[in-house]
Symmetry: D2
Subunit: 252 residues, 4 copies
């Protein structure tokens, strides 16, 4: 059984801030939010977690191995270096979707995303070390078969993007509703999916579904570990096998 | 008539680099590519352009006002500070899609995105100052009506994201095929669209289409200017009017 | 004759901020201030200026080629992305020391560095384009002769640093008082000096003075240009000649 | 007794890289090295260590609490995101100067700072957890008495800097030779000193020495802890007492 620890990272009162006293330069907002994401990705990543930019104002992280004290330090460090602050909700469970749902609830219960008085709340609970296992996290790393040859070098950059985006949109919805999984676009033609206990057949089914629905061919490497990095790293290696052998699904 | 200058920013041979000699830590890749995007966004943005992260390995920028020398400096500066290099294609035209298509072609003609020998190519042409006008760029800034109340504070963070993502995916495809426009998700519930000469009715139609197709309610502010910043800033102010008055389409 | 445009960049009310409500984590302050410096260095640098970190809370830049509008944009962009704001003073003159002194005065006249009510002031004047010449800026780039062989590979890292620091401290004081020049340590064993119209003999004299005073052997390349980058780039090339030929002073 | 763990961070073959194939833009080098420092400061800092930029190409960190695995991860992460790599030497001891000296030796033994073949070496040893104590690190945080009133608001920015720099240069040399301590300028008018077991009298003596030698008045807060952050945070609080009560030396 998996036991995924999920953290919702929400910028406090971000929407109003971006237009107060008047709209701020878009390039500055883009720079600030992508650097904030990069910093969180480093902090969580060098503790073997994964952070996904998602909407940027709401980011989702897999934080197995991080304590509440780590979360508190992240909040403090961001508060010392950025013009915005973070609220964090943490929850765990066998279903990543349920864990995220619980993490969201504790933040929502603390106040609205646009509540001026809700600042730097930190809610929820982490998995204590003694209860962590090598099977806690399952990560699937998908990419598009020969994206460069089929799209990047052939279509204009936006139509390539539409193709990849469509494959992602379809996969994201399907994995969430059919397989209780959270899918995130991570750049290029890569999608990383945080999964419960899924089998090879589930991935075959998902790849088939996406190909039928939007005619985008995917391949996937799947890994398991005590942290997102361990599981994800195994998944990347498995995906290398797909690329080398032309297979569609490889479990580490 | 609009005359949009579009730049395709492509990281040279990025895919192979990310797995050579073996897969690199995902958190490092995420950090590196989002900081690279942030730097490009600052460089282009403080010359009044807009840069969109798109796929991160292929970014798209609206660069009216930037010269080829500016593009060259961006390439040199990135080459001095990152482990990867950039190839740039620049083109202009009354249709943003056609301009991007031309910008893509000049890069593709220089070599494959995964060609080891294609490094830091810079191709294409910019609009000379004497030919620039205050009408060159049209930007539409969309967001979701009451996203916080309807989604962020109600659904779990991933289902909110799916809703917003669906609205974006539908808008992106529709604006590209029905209106020759390039749509980019820029975080939160915001989508910025680079348009040719469109009228109020076109935006009404697009909003109606998205609502019918995926039941997501959008509002939009539209601006015009000699640069992406000028047009986009006017669009942001127009969107503030939508938010204040409850209207759906506002032209600056 | 040189005509150096100098900008004083002062973080508003920084000291009090670092200890309010209680002392902030040192590592966060170090990170924030060095990234702020890096951003200013990029903004000014990709307009061909030089920025020196100096004390970090007070930075000094050579900004020939930057307009007051550029300075305003820098202030706005920093204000949008950092928890602190900047006040800027700009002045010009044949003596870099006098120019900096004037730039400092206009900021001091606007209020104390620790005045809560003095925020984002922008004072002074720049050189209008028609008045700029190819001789406006003179830069001397010094380094220590065989620093790696004599110090870095021989002494412990701190004693190497003390040696280099002593050479810098002596050079800085001497160039300021004997030659109206501003000297800045820029990392490694490099010191960049912003000079008025100085001759080869002046540099010979300065090198002799430092060698006698603290027994540190320096070499220097000197360049001239319409901007700090043009002058500094010529100086770097001249210094390469010293390194290759074993000469002590080279004028581009 | 203190037991300081010191890490020497040396950029591999940096000097040659900065001028290959020809000198790189100074602003890019300044940006790259200050951001690299900022990243190391975050990585070490959020594990309760302190990093000092020192010469930028050779940085010194107090790393009590960091394991060799942490050091390896830092190397890997920097190698994935920067155009340069790091070599690290780690050593421990009751004298910070001796520890740094040992850390330097293991790096020097691995090869010259400008040896093309010495890349990412990691040498030395850390203190095992069971041997760590709450007294391992002693930090003294100095600043200049009323620097703003006496210098920043009175002298031009460079002459203020010269005053502060002179105080620092004198303190650095004295603390190293008289008290086996490592002193680092950290911005503004602040100097952080990594000390062995020193008493109140030692600090009184040092402050007196600097005042006599260069007429700069210092005050100092001193703290002790199991990590640089714990000791340094206590020192910052003690320095606040000096500021409030007008005392010169405060031990936490």
């Amino acid at each position: 059984m998996t036991n995924t620890q999920v953290t919702l990272v929400q910028i406090d009162n971000y929407g109003p801030w971006t237009v107060t006293p008047e709209p701020r330069r878009e390039a500055d907002l883009q720079t600030m939010q992508s650097r904030l994401y990069a910093d969180i990705s480093q902090f969580v990543g060098n503790r073997d977690g994964y952070t996904f930019f998602t909407r940027f104002d709401n980011m989702i992280a897999v934080t197995n191995g991080l304590t509440m004290a780590d979360h508190e330090l992240l909040q403090e460090s961001v508060g010392n270096r950025y013009p915005v602050t973070l609220s964090l909700g943490v929850a765990t469970g066998t279903s990543p979707v349920q864990a995220l749902s619980d993490a969201t609830t504790v933040v929502q219960d603390a106040g609205s995303a646009q509540d001026e008085d809700r600042r730097e709340c930190l809610e929820g609970r982490t998995i204590d070390d003694p209860h962590r296992t090598d099977d806690d996290v399952q990560i699937a790393h998908f990419d598009v078969v020969d994206a460069t040859g089929q799209y990047t070098d052939e279509l204009n950059a936006f139509d390539s993007f539409i193709q990849i985006e469509q494959g992602y949109a379809e996969l994201m919805r399907h994995m969430r509703h059919a397989h209780d999984s959270l899918s995130f676009f991570v750049g290029g033609d890569n999608v990383i999916v945080v999964c419960p206990d899924l089998e090879s057949d589930d991935y075959e089914e998902a790849i088939g579904h996406v190909e039928t629905a939007v005619d985008v061919e995917l391949q996937v490497g799947v890994g398991r570990g005590s942290s997102a990095h361990d599981a994800g790293f195994a998944a990347k290696h498995a995906l290398e096998v797909c690329r080398a052998d032309g297979t569609r699904v490889e479990l580490a």
